[in-house]
């Protein structure tokens, strides 16, 4: 694809914080991870922005999509499982900031 795309800002292992927000339009960043810090597990690809696509837009520029690993014990104070348990969640770059 040669359509415009945001450049990839984070490499594997980078510490990132999920931005907090509840925009009026469609978005795909669940509330339960917002404000939490994790680590980039992998770059999944660079995809059309679903927030634009959902409202008839062209999805451009495309957004890097990362698989971000968060610790369960950070997400849920009462988490009862192994402290090493993690959650992997797919987050678009514009929802991330350096941590």
């Amino acid at each position: 694809m040669t359509t415009p795309a945001e450049s990839v800002l984070y490499s594997d292992g980078a510490a990132v914080r999920v931005r907090v927000g509840s925009p009026a339009h469609h978005f795909r960043t669940p509330a339960y991870i917002q404000g939490h810090t994790g680590v980039v597990d992998a770059l999944c690809g660079v995809y059309p922005n679903p927030e634009s696509l959902a409202h008839g837009g062209d999805g451009l520029p495309r957004q890097p999509l990362y698989r971000v690993r968060l610790r369960q014990t950070d997400l849920w104070p009462d988490y009862a499982g192994n402290p090493a348990d993690t959650l992997l969640v797919d987050v678009y770059q514009h929802w991330l900031e350096p941590a």
């Binding site: 339960y32 999944c44 995809y47 192994n82 969640v89 797919d90 678009y92």
Partner: protein, 203 residues
């Protein structure tokens, strides 16, 4: 054609509000020339043609062929092509994640019902339920216990929340004592739930 489609539905049984809305949207898309009834039917047929037996065939091959497994984990679409399983280019990217003696994977979509349909068909109703979607991320071990699998405490659980353009299939661990089995016999052991990750086949 779309009007006939609606009438067929109505003769079957009373339609729910959601079903009516879906048929109305389909009729509008056809009327505006964005989709044809044929395109919709082709997609429905494709999805109905896929069942957990497709996923099971992939898992069994990965168990007996380490080279295939390596290709499956690094580029699922291309590896599946070797088995004659086509993943259309316009469907979301598919990633296979491997359970090991140290890590167990479990898949959920907290925002809706994203699911590896091209390998498992349509998701079960519980996968789409609010209870599963909320509890799978906050209490994965509790959810698994209700499905009859209690994981050792020292295994790490990785929950995959497929919120975006990715779909995940779990490659379960091969059960012990299956060394002499054929590929077909192995495939018969692989359940849908083990490929979602809510159960384990290895006890």
């Amino acid at each position: 054609m779309t009007a006939t489609h609606v009438v067929d539905h109505i003769h079957d049984q009373p339609m729910s509000e959601v079903a009516l809305r879906s048929v109305a949207i389909e009729a509008l898309l056809a009327e505006k020339g964005l989709l044809t009834a044929d395109e919709v039917q082709r997609q429905v047929d494709l999805m109905d043609g896929r069942t957990p037996a497709d996923g099971a065939r992939v898992v069994a091959r990965a168990w007996i062929d380490p080279d295939f497994k390596a290709r499956l984990l690094s580029d699922a679409r291309s590896a599946l092509g070797e088995l004659g399983i086509e993943i259309p280019a316009d469907t979301p990217h598919l990633t296979v994640v491997e359970n090991t003696e140290d890590v167990h994977n479990l898949v959920v979509c907290t925002l809706c019902s994203c699911y590896p349909r091209m390998l498992l068909g349509r998701p079960p109703d519980w996968y789409k339920s609010l209870a599963y979607r909320s509890r799978a991320v906050s209490d994965p071990r509790g959810v698994m216990a209700e499905f009859g699998t209690v994981l050792p405490a020292d295994i790490r659980v990785d929950v995959l929340d497929s919120t975006a353009d990715m779909r995940y299939l779990v490659l379960p661990r091969r059960p012990e004592g299956t060394e002499g089995m054929s590929e077909e016999e192995l495939a018969a052991l692989v359940t849908r739930d083990s490929m979602i990750g809510v159960t384990s086949l290895s006890g």
